[in-house]
């Protein structure tokens, strides 16, 4: 375990902290994965560890994967308009896990999201909502800032 941690630290560029583990998922039937694939590469280049579930994954499986992979953050993407249902399920599942004593995970999302839906998503627990045109830098900065805030709370 110690060995593995130091290996991670080395990959993160010598910092003492292990790299952030980011789980990315596309729940539902949507096949638009361009944005997510670009983000995967950008996060890896920024020294983070990325676990990608692939497409057509049920919401429950996203929650399970977050658990099993011990992800610091969970990001979901949708371009089919089904996000109102799917993102609600993912957020509710993670909240239930947290209520049952699991650690808090940073939740964020992106895709085709009408501006009017952003407040709703925030109210569900999505700390970051990233519509088209978001810069990669903005997403990386968001994850770092959120992780630092979690750290202050006392990262398990």
């Amino acid at each position: 375990m110690d060995e593995k941690s130091s290996e991670k630290a080395a990959r993160a560029g010598g910092s003492n902290q292990p790299p952030l583990r980011i789980l990315l998922a596309k729940p539902g039937l949507d096949g638009h994965d361009r944005g997510l694939k670009v983000i995967i590469q950008a996060l890896i280049d920024a020294g983070m560890e990325v676990i990608y579930t692939g497409m057509r994954i049920p919401s429950q499986a996203v929650i399970l994967a977050a658990e099993q992979e011990d992800a610091d953050a969970v990001g979901v993407s949708n371009h089919s308009g089904a996000f109102r249902e799917l993102f609600r399920e993912v957020a509710a599942g993670l909240q239930a896990a947290e209520a049952a004593g699991r650690r808090r995970r940073i939740l964020f999302c992106g895709g085709i999201i009408p501006p009017g839906d952003i407040p709703t998503l925030k109210s569900w627990g999505y700390r970051g909502v990233f519509p088209p045109g978001t810069s990669l830098e903005a997403i990386i900065d968001f994850l770092k800032a959120e992780a630092a805030a979690l750290e202050k709370e006392g990262r398990p």
Binding site: K26, G28, L29, D30, G31, H32, D33, R34, K37, V38, Q41, A42, G54, M55, R56, S80, G81, A82, R84, E85, L86, I112, P114, P115, G116, I118, P131, P132, G133, S135, L136, E137
Partner: protein, 540 residues
């Protein structure tokens, strides 16, 4: 496309509309300029002549304008039918059906896998009753219908044929296009259901059936659009699309189908992105490259078979969420590129599609954009108006050469099918997408209103189309009720028969049509096929 008109004008060698065109100042506009010797070095030739660099018809848009075909579908069959009638009343000249994701992948609306997706990106069609509602009051022998459907294309075609028969119309009179291009699904679009081999078999069953029975039907639209939207370059778009076309023709050869007849059935589908000149050159290069492939690789002499006819859609990926009104200008430039490049049909995106489904108002503006180009700009007055311009000829040759080199690389790796299974084109596309994004990030690629001249942080003030949230539960109940009330015996027998047919090598189309007529649903037929073929598993 009206074949009869075309052949008339081809035979006479004269434009079917002989009216002289002139500029607003009264200067006559020739149909085209530049004799073969003028363009000799590039082999561009004349419009309507091999290798069709300058267009596939001698008279181009003087003979017939491109088909204005807006992709549309949402909610339910009834609502989509109303939008279709609205678009036809506004002067649209063909229909293009957008199906919802459950329909595209082969789930009925009441399937748990469909939850949240019913009626969202298109219309749900699970049975012949749905198809009947979708086309109510629309004469299928007159209006050509394009259906963006792939994994379940054979089933949707079976619905349409069964509907024609129910209306007392010979299916041979059906006109339109089926997308039915599974290779690009694995590469970029991702609505595949079955593994690659049975997916290709279904494509070829549809092709074979259409060659034999549906003279006015284009059973495949080999698509670079989604490859481009997924992030490829224009060169990769051409290379991958044509390598897929080669793979389908090789599959036709393996089935011993008449190759010229199959190639005549092909249609293509490309994106129109932002760089006006590269896009115009891309369409010209694709035509020339395909004509050479058909003649040199497949030894097909029939010039009709060497014509690359294509649909174009403006680039969804170029639409910005920020300052969405700017997108109207982007769409106009992209549409102009498609027309200057000689497209046969065109969809113009609505300016609000980075935010959600378009409203009736933005859809109308998108259609008006095409009409303004067609009737006001003069772009349709002459064939290949940019042909012979040094930059355009240079870019055309460069795209052709580079696309050929990529195709050779795919061949060296064992051809398109093998490359797809190894993930090679997928990696090319992902690498290009990342490069493009980084270029925008560094400000090397300017996106007005986003990374330059933007009102950063300002939320777009744009009315967004609201889909009635009550439609999905009502739809789910309706499909479930229909299945309950249906006499089950005939449908069950038809599904058994379908599984037997799937295990053999026979063409599945007749069995699917019989299944539709016996009341079997889309989900049931696709589910039966999945029992035999398996589900696609793998790296997405």
């Amino acid at each position: 496309m009206r074949k009869d008109e075309r052949s008339r004008s081809l035979e006479s060698g004269k434009p079917s509309d002989a009216r002289e065109r002139q500029t607003p100042s009264g200067i006559p506009i020739p149909l085209f300029l530049g004799e073969p010797d003028f363009l000799g070095e590039t082999g561009a030739g004349r419009p309507g002549e091999l290798p069709f660099t300058r267009g596939i018809y001698p008279d181009m848009y003087r003979g017939k304008l491109w088909t204005m075909r807006q992709y549309s579908g949402f909610g339910t069959a009834r609502e989509t039918n109303q939008r279709f009638r609205y678009l036809l009343a506004q002067g649209q000249t063909g229909l293009s059906v957008a199906f919802d994701l459950p329909t595209q992948i082969g789930y009925d609306s009441d399937d748990p896998a469909a939850a949240g997706e019913v009626g969202k990106v298109g219309v749900p069609i699970c049975s012949i009753e749905d198809m009947e509602q979708l086309f109510a009051g629309i004469p299928l022998e007159e209006v050509s219908v394009s259906m963006t459907i792939n994994a379940s294309a054979a089933v949707l075609l079976a619905f349409l044929i069964a509907l024609a028969k129910r209306r007392g119309m010979a299916p041979s009179r059906l006109r339109g296009t089926l997308q039915n291009d599974l290779l690009k699904e694995f590469v970029a679009r991702h609505t595949q259901r079955f593994p690659l081999t049975p997916s290709l078999r279904l494509v070829m069953d549809v092709l074979e059936h259409s060659v034999r029975h549906l003279p006015h039907w284009h059973p495949i639209s080999i698509s670079g659009y989604h490859i481009r939207e997924a992030g490829s370059t224009a060169v990769e778009e051409v290379a991958l699309t044509l390598s897929h076309a080669v793979a389908y023709l090789e599959a036709a050869r393996a089935r011993q189908l008449p190759l010229a007849a199959v190639a005549r059935k092909f249609s293509f589908f490309f994106a129109a992105q932002m760089h006006l000149f590269e896009e115009v050159a891309k369409f010209r290069a694709a035509r020339r490259l395909w004509a050479h492939l058909v003649r040199d690789r497949f030894q097909i002499e029939d010039p009709e078979a060497a014509k690359l006819r294509f649909h174009t859609q403006t680039a969804g990926a170029a639409l910005t969420y920020q300052e969405p009104e700017n997108n109207a200008v982007r769409v106009a430039l992209q549409a102009l590129a498609a027309v200057l490049g000689g497209t046969q049909s065109l969809h113009t995106n609505a300016l609000d599609e980075a935010l959600g489904l378009p409203t009736e108002k933005t859809v109308r503006l998108a259609l008006r954009t095409q009409q303004i180009i067609a009737f006001e700009s003069g772009a349709a007055d002459s064939a290949d108006p940019l042909g012979g311009a040094p930059l355009i000829e240079h870019l055309t040759s460069a795209i052709e050469e580079r696309a050929k080199a990529l195709m050779a690389e795919l061949e060296a790796r064992g051809g398109a099918l093998r490359a797809i299974q190894e993930g090679l084109p997928q990696r090319w596309i992902a690498a290009s997408a990342y490069r493009l994004e980084k270029q925008a990030e560094r400000g090397e690629r300017i996106v007005v209103g986003v990374n330059r001249f933007g009102s950063a942080g300002e939320a777009p003030q744009q009315e967004v189309f609201q889909l009635d949230e009550k439609l999905e539960p009502a739809r789910v109940e309706e499909v479930a009720r229909r299945k309950r009330e249906r006499p089950g015996g005939a449908a069950q027998a038809a599904l058994q028969r379908l599984k037997e047919a799937a295990r053999s090598t026979e063409n599945l189309m007749e069995t699917l049509i019989a299944g539709v007529e016996a009341g079997a649903t889309l989900g049931e037929m696709m589910g039966s096929l999945a029992e035999v073929f398996g589900e696609h598993q793998g790296d997405w």
